[in-house]
């Protein structure tokens, strides 16, 4: 699979730093899968799919490559290769999506796909403040939390999750993507309550196709065995604790 120049048909500014790019590409990707986006002469980075037909990628400008990507305009082409990796298993009759910051992009896509399958959907969308909140999923009741209370409830997504359980809500699957400690806390809650939990994990990724091993977590590769992992991720000693840096030295998260 080679990087393919793919025309940008629309750009949606979601927050100050996050844009969703829509492409002239009708291929299907499962929520949770990703594309490698190549900026010729600079870098190539994995970006999670936030919609298909047409394909969309939600990109947060946080480093040199992603900031450059977010300068692309409608009508220009990005070089894409994918879809890659293993996405969410779209199962369940009543599902909850929990997104932290720009991690909500793929969760939103999963919720919309579940709606098409007739599932009941609900969402918790959390961010550090109102400037980091993505657009909610259409037709999906959404609880918003912010760390500073600038929008929605002040607090963490896990507070909102426990609140839902306290009010008697039941879900058979939770889809989540966001900061790793947030996902670990959610996985532990799900484990206690015997609820399915599907997380999209992130590591510094290099090749994207299961060769170099750079994105290892436990003995699994995020690019190939993931990015979707279930409750079993709790058995990885490094989950929520440490990761490999660019040289592959182990550092705290």
């Amino acid at each position: 699979m080679l990087p393919t120049p793919t025309k940008i048909t629309r750009v949606e500014q979601e927050t100050k730093t996050v844009k969703t790019y829509y492409f002239d590409d009708q291929s299907y990707a499962i929520p949770g899968q990703f594309y490698m986006v190549w900026v010729p002469g600079l870098e190539e980075k994995p970006m999670s799919v936030s919609g298909t037909r047409p394909l969309s990628l939600t990109i947060c400008g946080i480093g040199p490559a992603s900031i450059r990507m977010n300068e692309y305009k409608e009508g220009e082409c990005m070089f894409l290769r994918g879809p890659l990796g293993k996405g969410f298993r779209l199962e369940g009759k009543s599902v909850l999506g929990i997104g932290g910051g720009y991690g909500f992009g793929p969760v939103r896509y999963a919720l919309l796909e579940m709606q098409k399958k007739g599932a009941k959907t609900k969402a918790i969308l959390g961010a550090k403040n109102k400037d980091w909140l993505l657009r909610p999923a259409a037709g999906c009741e959404t609880i918003i939390t912010t760390n500073d209370g600038s929008s929605g409830k002040k607090g963490l997504v896990t507070d909102a999750l426990l609140g839902l359980f306290d009010s008697g809500e039941k879900f058979d699957t939770i889809f989540t993507c966001g900061p790793e400690r947030m996902m670990k806390a959610i996985a532990e809650i799900c484990k206690d309550r015997k609820i399915g939990c599907q997380m999209l994990l992130e590591r510094y990724m290099k090749c994207g196709i299961g060769v170099c091993g750079q994105c290892v977590i436990g003995d699994r590769l995020v690019c190939r065995d993931g990015p979707m992992f279930g409750i079993e991720a709790l058995s990885f000693a490094d989950f929520g604790a440490t990761k490999l840096d660019r040289t592959s030295e182990r550092i705290p998260i």
Binding site: M1, L2, P3, P5, M36, W38, P40, G41, L42, E43, E44, K45, F79, K206, C207, G208, I209, G210, V211, C212, G213, Q214, V216, G218, D219, L221, R224, L244, R246, T247, S248, E249, R250
Partner: protein, 311 residues
């Protein structure tokens, strides 16, 4: 009863001849142990240098049309972290560990071999496909005297068996193989990747950030078979780990026929689930269907033809 696939390499017993090659899914102990659990006869760690290295920016690996091109740039944590990883792998893997090292000077090769011996790997692979700063950046692997110098230095530094990993990007690989054998190498790993590049004519740039890289995968198998066969034909006696494009059991039978004593598997580990146990089953089936009782039966019939004819 020992399996028909059990073999021995430099006095090390392998329960099967399939060895995870260096550079593929092997950058820490967890991944080495995983390959062992998935059935590898031995596992090779990613080549490590003395100091930590960042490697190249992406794109670093591209797979297209049955061939892989990579220039990851030997990112790695450096020798101190590597020793810990190798010790952890040795405790948990249950199969022999081959520790791979690379350096840009003979002195650094000596120091690496000396230091990595502390982790007590069963074998040390010496990756000489890297530039020699003392010889205008020429690859150690490209020049018999340089390859021999590294071999001498590493042999002085350690009592652990060493395998020199040879590059196919040379005029005469057998000459280099002879030189490292004479310098005391215990084993040869052949081949490393074949030099190549992909270019995107729309971006008008090479696809890899490093511009050029190494080809691997099933399409390089004929290059690897010829290299191993040449090394044997020219009388090199030490064991050879035949590596390059092996992806199914029958490929391994071909590689044994070329003269290999064990089989390195790299790129295929990316594409096939349960690769190692599948390779073992396939090779056993191939041998039993063709009435080969031992890996030693897998050798070419000498019919006296002169192999030096032009193509």
């Amino acid at each position: 009863m020992a399996s028909v696939l059990e073999t021995s390499l430099c006095g090390i017993t392998l329960h099967n001849p399939f060895i995870l090659a260096s550079g593929i899914r092997d950058l820490n102990s967890a991944l080495l142990v995983r390959a062992a659990k998935e059935g590898a006869g031995a596992v090779t760690s990613k080549s490590v240098s003395l100091a930590p290295r960042l490697g190249h920016p992406n794109p670093t690996v591209v797979f297209h049309g049955g061939i892989m091109l990579n220039a990851v740039g030997l990112s790695g944590p450096g020798i101190d972290a590597e020793i810990k990883e190798l010790k952890a792998a040795k405790r948990a893997a249950g199969v022999p560990i081959i520790a791979s090292v690379f350096a840009q000077s003979v002195e650094d090769f000596y120091e690496l071999a000396y230091r990595i011996s502390e982790a007590e790997p069963e074998m040390i692979e010496v990756n000489i496909s890297c530039p020699n700063v003392a010889n205008e950046g020429r690859m150690f692997s490209a020049c018999a005297p340089d390859a021999a110098d590294v071999t001498h230095a590493v042999k002085k530094a350690t009592s652990i068996p060493i395998s020199i990993k040879l590059s196919p990007n040379v005029t005469d690989i057998a000459e280099i193989a002879h030189a490292v054998e004479a310098a005391g190498a215990d084993c040869i790993t052949a081949i490393n990747t074949v030099g190549g590049m992909f270019i995107d004519p729309i971006a008008r740039r090479p696809l890899l950030s490093n511009k050029v890289g190494g080809l691997s995968g099933s399409l390089i198998k004929p290059v690897a078979l010829k290299a191993v066969w040449e090394i044997r034909r020219r009388g090199v006696k030490i064991p050879v780990i035949g590596t390059g494009g092996i992806s199914v059991g029958k490929d391994a039978a071909e590689m044994f026929c070329a003269g290999a004593n064990a089989i390195g598997v790299g790129t295929a580990a990316m594409g096939r689930e349960n690769l190692f146990s599948s390779l073992c089953l396939e090779l056993e089936k191939f041998m039993s269907e063709n009435n080969y009782r031992s890996l030693k039966d897998l050798k070419l019939i000498e019919d006296g033809s002169d192999a030096s004819h032009p193509y």
